[in-house]
Subunit: 782 residues, 2 copies
């Protein structure tokens, strides 16, 4: 866990005022820069010391055989692991003959700042070499949102009180040594030297290296170019070897003089294009970057972010910590999705090697919920990527003896890579969540084109999957047996409520989409009979309910399982590292919101009393060993009136990485939790519901937040929602003349001519604030 | 599958009248010789050609790391694989300068016979070398039941029609090349060169080699000694190298002359003793064998088997095929258990590398059922072995968060080696089955001493396990959730009937045993409260019952699962190789008898109507992809009056290896199925029940068996039971003056003075003969 003093509270920055080497692993993730295509971990410019060196290209992976001591039919044979590609971040510095290394000499000052509006990572260093030579270093790094293939570093060294000879070595390094990552199953396997040299080119002010992965046979190129500015004569020289290239800049500085090096970096990769094509693509990007220049890149970065914040920002008065964390989260969500363009959005974006760089259901479930309302084009791109893998999903369904398409539980490029089938293959809800994201995109944007282009095909193929997964009993109820829901502490259960509700929604969406777009449906061979069968199954879906307790068990029989001994395991969290699955699966212990998530996404299936009792029952048994949980608990606690508890969960979801609350931020930030923090504010306290044809807003604020302002897009319009202690003001900013919505349960209309204000009433909870398992209570914000 | 003509029907032999190289893999298993300590596969004397070379020492294994693509807490780290040890079977032959190889020259005659009364494998060969030299070879091989460390080969070569120079090379070969076994998960991983040379000694007429395993660090020695007899001057010479030793015998034979070589082999191993100790143990065994001589070994072998058959034989008039197969099965069961003495009895005995050489629950469940009634000392030894692993089982229970002892699902030396937990760790019924074997041994033998020595400790520790696995619901019923029963096509189910009934029996047995032996119980810290808790749980155990169907689901909700599409998968057997577990687990498809086995072992829990309906229901859904199933289906079909169907299943269980019905006899014979064939005859048609304090016999014969005679031990007495078409005759042969039993439902007494005869009535089935899934009907005997 990171202490509260490491990152001071600032509205628009995440600043590390002094260097703490013990936190290098975490700060490398927190300070990672990305545009969804290129990802640079926040490694120090000079490379050493580091925890995990990381330079990633979205979907650039190496394949590895998945080992099974006892294999079974249908187990995936190959895994995919994100590759730490050629490292272009490195700028080493020698002062006279001594290398700059923060562990030696005297570090007078070291400060790093992630600037959420500038989109840069800025570093100030004031250092005295072991020989007593003092220099100031200032570097600024960016990964361009505007020039997708480009990153750049602005690097300055200033002599302070004596003449120094300065040597700057700017490098490209392939096959960086990888640390041995722990045996924790959540951490990706490190790959050793996955890149094979193809060619290398010396350029006028830099170099370009081309490599190919050993097994997956993907081609990549990395190039660097430099603009050097310094007093007197500055020498520049470049050498190229198989696995590295180095541009050396040498100059002599008098006190107060500065040597400045701008390093332009470009990356490209392809599974199909030729070596010259990939090389030229990178060369072209470098030329373009040099043409824009450092200042041009910096300005376009800020313009891009101004536009983003204008449409996405959330203002949280009264809780500066959450304010900062939510903006930090939105920034990382943007970084993950902005320019992914036809590639997956991994669970950790491009900020670290966690989960092997895979994408899971939480991208569609959580990350796209935020992007759809803030950067809808990025959400559409992500859904187009899913659609591009549909043939693989069809193949997978056939291998499993199913119809339609079965999307992978975890993957980089679309092939199923999950080696533990009870929590992989069996977790079919991923398909319904993808379908839900397609539907949500249409509902929020009003855009029909995505559905026509590819959305309906996803809806139809996943509906077919569900029809082959479900069956009717003799009484006519429709069941889905033997699957795994979101909660990973149960598996292979019958009639998981979340899965069944989402599957029914999927079936209805496919039927409705087919009605809306009969020509597309015809091309997909959808018949009226098939649509009728989808509607029938959706209408007959069985939702288990425990009459005696008045609660929904998260799956059939769950409430009859033995209770967990929370007292006995209070020192054993996370339980998956101290307890066999066998024990977890058969008892009433919940890793993450499951039934509670069903209530968030399918509010229409529950009444107020059920909602209150369900939250109460499941709160007592949820240990939050997953980072996917707190945001949902926040939202649903807000909706049943436990507003301060909701605030506590919001805080946890938002601070997951800035405080390293789960102890694994070093492997990358938790994109779904960060996106979920936005949902907790907007869906929870804002009361936003986008699951129907009409927008719903129903705000409730906890005592610790005096004012909440958020922005949301709806059918091309931009709405501003400001909630104070007792009032809510809606402003229709642009995109239309009027919007109808349901506010605090009443239909209202907001017009473009002026904001409108209503009062809202604090909701009284039906039940007292629930308790949590001992030791798993969220930190109290009070 | 092996055609019916490969092994002609003989009452006391399994004879292969001609060599079929395609069947070498299977005949190596069928003709394997073993005494439970040493196992020699039926490889040809000259080593080549072979399918799988195999020489095994019980429990001599190599360790290997079990790989997991996604590991979980509590997964076993190390696997154990039986090692193909130093091969002493090899006797190569050169005729003039040409090696004898059945693939070259002309094979005029080749015949092998497994003699079930002599305990030998005899081979006749009449061969003409490529150069036209004709010789007759006769070899006889035995693994001594009487001298546990000894095997021997009597090898003769006769010149037929011309003078030949004969060279016999008798060898010890360590680290034989292993074939690449298939990717079938049921087949063991081959280990390459696991033996490391320690020392080798040249002996006057042979040699001795000592090796150590690389990772498991076990020491073994193999020695050979020779007695040579031939016309004229015969030269003999031995060389010893690190991984092999060779004694060469050279002689010249005139037509009609014979060169005879008797090869004595001895083996020993230890995990604790020193090199000299193990070497001398083997040297001593060789000396003892030489002292007995070939004829002495042969005679003692026959004496041992005469005694065995006198107490164990089953005579089946009317079905010669089953007669032969059942004796073949009994012979292999004896070979597996006779001299195991404190070691496990593996699923394939010592006949092949299948299942890595592991032992499973079926040893206690099926093999010990047969041994207890026929060779009770061997059963006691096997239970003592289990007891010797109790500390490991306690450790395993603790690692799983459970109390008492959790015996491994699969192991060689006691450590859990199962890498797929839903069908390993979760299959806790292994513990109840071990407890049941302890109880059965006491009931059948009347012996209390084993219970005192070690049996009660097993009962108590497994009872404690069950108490930590089960829980009470609010209505006071006791449940066991989330475990896997015998049927491997369901997993992680709630309230598996078999498991719950056997667990309850386990709890009661622990309580009753503690009452019988209060001092032992006190030493085990058993309190009256604990016994009361065991009895309470046993009394409150929940047994699911489907009232609408009038059948017991094999586990909670099973009868509500979707039906399997048997028509659609009729070409896909065994399903585990063509279908993901996911699909198997959630539908009504049954790999092997589970509920039906519960009815066999716990008859008191079911009434006649339930039995009939349960058989009918489960027959329709059982595909028999496990070789453990047919014997149970035979027994229960007999008990509900489907006598001809029972006969069909009996045939399948008995012929599993002689016909290679499951296509994997090459990996070793199926000990549980072979033992189960005996049970099908004795429990099924004989109607024997040994689960209570009183012996029960209730015979029923199918139309194809005119007379059934079997022998059974009961409380030290030996009973002969002869069943004809309408009569049953009981003879108390020795061991007591009188025995009370229940015959055909009536209490009767048989005294030692004379046999008694009763008539029996054919039972009318309550339901018509059930059907099976298409393509999975047993072969009809009619």
């Amino acid at each position: 866990m990171i202490g509260t003093r490491s990152f001071p509270v600032d509205a628009w920055w995440v600043r590390e005022p002094h260097l703490d080497l013990d936190l290098l692993p975490q700060t490398e993730s927190v300070f990672a820069l990305s545009n969804g295509h290129i990802g640079l971990r926040g490694n120090l410019d000079e490379g050493d010391p580091h925890a995990i060196p990381g330079t990633y290209l979205n979907s650039f992976y190496e394949a590895r055989v998945l080992p099974y001591a006892e294999a079974g039919y249908g187990y995936p044979e190959d895994g995919q692991t994100v590759v730490d590609v050629t490292n272009g971040k490195i700028i080493r510095l020698l002062i006279d003959d001594e290398p700059f290394d923060v562990r030696y000499g005297k570090l007078l000052h070291h400060e790093r700042t992630l600037d959420l509006r500038a989109g840069t990572l800025v570093r100030y260093v004031d250092w005295v070499s072991p020989a007593g030579k003092r220099v100031k270093i200032r570097s600024t790094r960016l990964v361009s949102f505007v020039q997708r293939a480009v990153a750049a570093i602005h690097y300055e060294v200033e002599a302070v009180d004596t003449e120094v000879r300065v040597i700057v070595q700017s490098e490209l390094v392939a096959n960086d040594d990888q640390p041995d990552l722990s045996g924790d199953p959540r951490v990706s396997a490190a790959l050793k030297a996955p890149l094979v040299h193809v060619t290398g080119d010396l350029e006028p002010h830099g170099a370009l290296l081309v490599h190919r992965t050993r097994r997956s046979n993907l081609l990549m190129a990395a190039g660097m170019d430099h603009v050097v500015e310094g007093p007197g004569s500055v020498q520049e020289d470049t050498v190229v070897r198989e696995d590295w290239a180095r541009t050396t800049v040498l100059g002599t500085l008098q006190p107060g003089e500065t040597l400045k090096v701008v390093k332009f970096l470009a990356y490209g990769w392809s599974s199909v294009r030729s070596v010259p094509a990939v090389r030229d693509q990178v060369g072209g990007a470098l030329t373009s970057a040099r043409y824009s220049g450092w200042e041009g890149l910096l300005q376009s970065q800020r313009d891009y972010l101004d536009e983003f914040w204008d449409a996405a920002d959330v203002e949280v008065e009264g809780d500066g910590v959450v304010q900062q964390a939510v903006r930090f989260g939105l920034f990382h969500v943007l970084q993950a999705g902005a320019r992914a363009e036809g590639r997956a959005i991994p669970a950790k974006g491009l900020t670290g090697p966690g989960y092997d760089g895979h994408t899971f259901w939480d991208t569609e479930g959580f990350v796209l919920a935020t992007l759809t309302a803030t950067v809808p084009d990025a959400a559409a791109d992500a859904l187009r990527w899913r659609h591009s893998t549909l043939d693989l999903a069809r193949e997978r369904a056939r291998a499993l003896g199913l119809r339609g398409a079965a999307f992978p539980w975890r993957t980089i490029r679309g092939q199923e890579c999950s080696a533990y089938w009870p929590a992989g293959t069996a977790a079919f809800h991923v398909n319904a969540v993808i379908a839900y994201a397609v539907e949500r995109y249409r509902l929020v944007t009003g855009d029909q084109q995505l559905e026509i282009d590819c959305g309906l095909e996803i809806l139809v193929e996943t509906a077919r999957l569900w029809m082959s997964l479900g069956h009717y009993d003799s009484a006519g109820a429709w069941h889905i047996d033997g699957v795994t829901g979101p909660d990973e502490y149960t598996a292979l259960v019958d009639d998981n409520v979340f899965t069944n509700l989402l599957a029914a929604r999927n079936l209805r969406a496919a039927a409705e989409g087919s009605s809306r777009h009969p020509q597309v449906a015809e091309r997909l061979l959808v018949t009226p009979d098939e649509c009728a069968a989808w509607r029938d199954a959706a209408g007959a879906v069985h939702i288990p309910y425990d009459e005696a307790l008045g609660v929904h068990p998260q799956s059939e029989r769950f409430t009859q399982y033995d209770e967990w001994d929370f007292e006995g395991t209070k020192d054993d969290y996370p339980l998956l590292l101290t307890t066999p699955y066998f024990q977890l699966y058969r008892k009433q212990v919940i890793k993450q919101a499951d039934l509670v998530l069903a209530m968030h996404w399918c509010p229409e299936a529950f009444d107020d009393g059920q909602r209150a009792r369900n939250v109460d029952y499941h709160e007592k048994r949820t240990v939050r060993d997953s980072t996917l949980s707190a945001n949902t608990q926040a939202t649903m606690c807000a909706r049943v009136g436990h507003l301060d508890l909701a605030h506590d969960y919001l805080h946890e979801a938002a601070l997951i990485d800035l405080r390293d609350l789960h102890g694994n931020a070093r492997d990358g930030v938790h994109m779904a939790s960060l996106a979920g923090a936005w949902s907790a504010l907007v869906d929870g306290f804002g009361g936003l519901q986008v699951g129907g044809e009409t927008l719903v807003i129903d705000p409730q604020l906890p005592s610790g937040i005096s004012r909440l302002t958020f922005r949301v897009r709806w059918h091309g319009m931009r709405l501003l929602v400001e909630v104070t202690d007792d009032e809510v003001t809606l402003t229709l900013r642009d995109g239309g003349d009027a919007v109808d919505l349901v506010l605090c349960g009443e239909p209202v209309t907001v017009t473009a001519d002026k904001p409108r204000t209503w009062s809202w009433t604090r909701r009284a909870p039906l039940l007292p604030r629930p308790t949590q398992p001992i030791g798993r209570e969220p930190v109290t914000r009070a």
